[in-house]
Symmetry: C2
Subunit: 349 residues, 2 copies
């Protein structure tokens, strides 16, 4: 551990630090304890919003939030708020908890739709509690999110809702794109924008609104969130093929198994020719792929520049994200936002 890096005990942020902050500069480490406190406080809000008086739901919902990942969203929202010079992060904690609950709700329903058995190395909610409980627990998480959001301005609630609607629309577009190699890059980028990026953007932009930042800065945060969200998704897609399942906690090749085209897949298919192209198509369209099919798909992909193209696109997103928050005054919290933008494309989980 480098000097100034946070002690093991500082954490809820361990996973996050490991994944996206590994090489952060010392000023970022200096403010991490504040953010760790913020994230821990959001965690308390999450727990309090799932009271034991709703026993059947509390169990599945708490299980889902516990498997809910790296807490990048609450960290980004707290850092945004502090980067704008605001001190009292209690003002955005319920909002951050709301966004985390929305994120968790969509993961639970996604796992029902994708029949996913594992989420972060643990049985998924539908696997652990059954499909009916997963559907209802997802609804319950949405409801609790909106209750947390209820104390904010109508403008913020509507923006939060619009991001959820975009997310749902993105999910439907993705659902309709299964086994479609003619989807095209633009439409895939639009899916990522709606499904992944809109909610990240709404989270940081609404923190800007709570902090009463200028329109220029709120718009910049929106752009930052969108760019980071897309970069995050591109890296997620790459980890699905090139990641280490022991580190990601997810089995490899789930997108190919489920027939979901990604940038990588679309670019590989576009670059291949002749027999290789038709083999790629045939294998991708196969409904029950054997391990050998998946390995061959990877092999064919690796004969193209698709991986490099995805990485290049992700890096372009990072640049856009960095430019978008330039209007914010420099400081350790802005540095952290920059560091997270860089980190999402180098993370291994």
């Amino acid at each position: 551990m480098s000097p100034g890096a946070p002690a093991e005990t500082d954490l809820p942020l361990r996973g996050l630090v490991g994944s996206v902050l590994g090489e952060a500069d010392p000023s970022v480490y200096e403010v991490l304890p504040n953010l760790a406190e913020d994230v821990a406080a959001v965690e308390e809000q999450l727990k309090a919003s799932l009271p034991a008086s709703y026993p059947f739901l509390a169990e599945a919902a708490t299980y889902a939030t516990d498997s809910g990942g790296k807490r990048v969203r609450p960290l980004l929202m707290a850092a945004t708020f502090r980067a704008l010079g605001a001190q009292d992060t209690r003002l955005v904690q319920p909002l951050a908890a709301a966004f985390q609950l929305i994120h968790t709700a969509t993961l639970v329903h996604d796992d029902v739709i994708d029949r996913a058995d594992l989420r972060r190395g643990k049985p998924s909610v539908p696997r652990a509690f059954g499909v009916p409980a997963a559907i209802v627990a997802g609804d319950y998480l949405f409801v609790r999110a909106f209750q947390l959001a209820a104390r904010y301005s109508t403008e913020i609630i509507l923006r939060c809702g619009e991001a959820c609607a975009e997310l749902a629309q993105g999910e439907m577009m993705q659902e309709n794109s299964r086994y479609d190699l003619t989807l095209g890059r633009d439409r895939y980028v639009r899916i990522m924008m709606m499904k992944t990026a809109s909610i990240v953007a709404a989270g940081v932009a609404s923190c800007g609104m709570v902090a009463k930042a200028s329109k220029e800065i709120v718009d910049g945060l929106e752009e930052y969130g969108r760019a980071v969200g897309v970069a995050f998704q591109i890296q997620d897609d790459l980890l699905d093929i090139y990641g280490d399942p022991d580190i990601t906690g997810k089995p490899l090749f789930s997108d190919w198994r489920e027939g979901l085209p990604t940038l990588l897949t679309l670019d590989a298919y576009a670059a291949l020719e002749g027999k290789e192209r038709s083999q790629f198509e045939r294998l991708f369209l196969t409904r029950r792929k054997r391990t050998a099919d998946l390995m061959r798909l990877k092999d064919l992909t690796d004969r193209t520049d698709a991986h490099a193209k995805s990485m290049h696109d992700a890096e372009m997103c990072v640049k856009r994200a960095l430019a978008a928050i330039e209007p914010i005054e420099p400081g350790p919290y802005r540095s952290l936002l920059e560091r997270v933008a860089r980190g999402v494309v180098t993370r291994r989980f």
Copy 2:
């Protein structure tokens, strides 16, 4: 058609009038055109909240709301508001639309959970659009509901959310009660209270809040909504056994098929003895019931006073509902609320 009864053209209320207002007194018919206008305006709000710019979702969500039933909720909410002397029902139309969307969302997710093929005589949303679309469309309907609720006071949004949470909890309790003949009346009544009645109660009570009614009246409306909700559910359970599928639009015996105990089932089981009791138990617990099994269950039920007991309970609910709105000044809109309370237990669909 009796004189003073609304012309065919008046309707969105035709189904409702047929189902719960058939024998209403003339003063009720006089105010029906106003309520028909209210319900039509709520309908407009519903449509506007599902814009075509979300094409994949708009289609399934619109289909779901079109199959969303008799519009009892919007009617009750508008009538409540008017019964309190308030004139400008535009003030409660978005709220009524929100409650209707929440109701619709839960029906869509229920149909996924119950694998229901039909809803009001038409293919259910999961049947017509697939399970993934049904899950996401349900989420989308929830989101749009909360956006409509966003313009109301934090108190109302929280109350609306709490009713949704109760509803989810009730669904989980019901899910856990499948094939459980030891459930007991009290717990079943609690399930109905949470799953069906809480959202009706929140709807009318929040209209009282918008109309700035006294605490006594708001509490009375809450009680009215709970009693009407439970009566509605008891009648629903009876129609599942004794209804006419051509009129209800639903196949018979779905509760028995799905192993869901109702008051009727619990009372019949409690009243039977000896061999009949064990046969009832064995048949109810059978997972794939044949038609002969279902007919025999009905036969055994009819040897008991279970039907009469359910009807008696429903009538007690109606009495409670009527008493609860006595503090409201008498008038045609209060009469309509009374008429709806009476109508839910005599309706045939």
